[in-house]
Symmetry: C2
Subunit: 207 residues, 2 copies
Amino acid sequence: MKRGTIITIGRQCGSGGREIGQKLAQKLGIPFYDRELLRLAAQQSGLAPENFELYDEVPTSSLLYSLSLGNHGVMLGQYDMPIHQKVFLAQFEAIQALADKGESCVIIGRCADYALREREQVVKVFLKADPQARVRRLVEQYSDLTEKKAADQMVKTDKRRAAYYNFYSDSRWGSAEGYDLVVDSLRTGIDKTVELIAAYADLRFPE
Amino acid sequence: MKRGTIITIGRQCGSGGREIGQKLAQKLGIPFYDRELLRLAAQQSGLAPENFELYDEVPTSSLLYSLSLGNHGVMLGQYDMPIHQKVFLAQFEAIQALADKGESCVIIGRCADYALREREQVVKVFLKADPQARVRRLVEQYSDLTEKKAADQMVKTDKRRAAYYNFYSDSRWGSAEGYDLVVDSLRTGIDKTVELIAAYADLRFPE
């Protein structure tokens, strides 16, 4: 794969996105950013790191946002911006700064595909799987989760990720439209999905 | 790829599905069925081949269907069945007969993924691309098409395919959910999409 290729991975909860991204980055010998992006964004923005933990992939309530706009009666500047949006913007800028470095990397979630929409050398992947298979995986991973709890948490996490993505980007989270490649990661298997994405990135941007 | 693997390819109009399927079948040295399936279904069913040309991937009007059910007042048997449905059923059976032979092949469209939903050794692919890129491809391919005509025809063909698929199958045409792999075939390129699908089929069902 050509130097400077960024692989963005959107993922349904329980589809193995983090593990696949980590193994892919390891296989390709390039950095991996999932929650790692938060520390980077905090450092670069000067905002307190706690905000990034609290508001990571949390959608702005568009109603509250409109109300706050209404109250101010003017376009919001950086200083009046709700904290959710400052966090989003800091992550957005951290993603673009990563791309500016011209090094390859893997980025999980956080609208990275949208942040990099005007760049050529990006591979946009979305991972999905059958809901029952994802619940099984979550229960296996987290011993304190019952099947019911896992299913609830999965639905909520996906709703939150979708709302966040749909609010900030111009396409719909998880719809096939915006991505280069959508894979059923659990039917395919974690390691084979890693191989597939690596092969695809090589095909798209050969050395 | 293991013998007996069937690759089904759903496709948006203009995404290059036929060319990709043909090249893939050629690369793997296995048979290819697109409209070729119609002749096979006609032979096996005894229905006149014209019906297959007329009703290929044409949805049954569900309103007309309900009315005809209402008139009969009973479940439809093979003989009372509207011709659309006889054609669908004959294709459905031809697809299953292909799978029963235990040979690998590539099948384009015609709800093949649904017809084979209870079989293990199937790779379910969907090809999609940006609408503007698909219009450009259609205009390049068919010299008598203006851009406007191509766009109209594309939208109509996709609506027809979606209605057909959604009527007969239990999932939604083109939504990422039902497929193993969704690829943006025009951003990826025809030949690279062929390579990718071949690599994926090898990963899923190694020899």
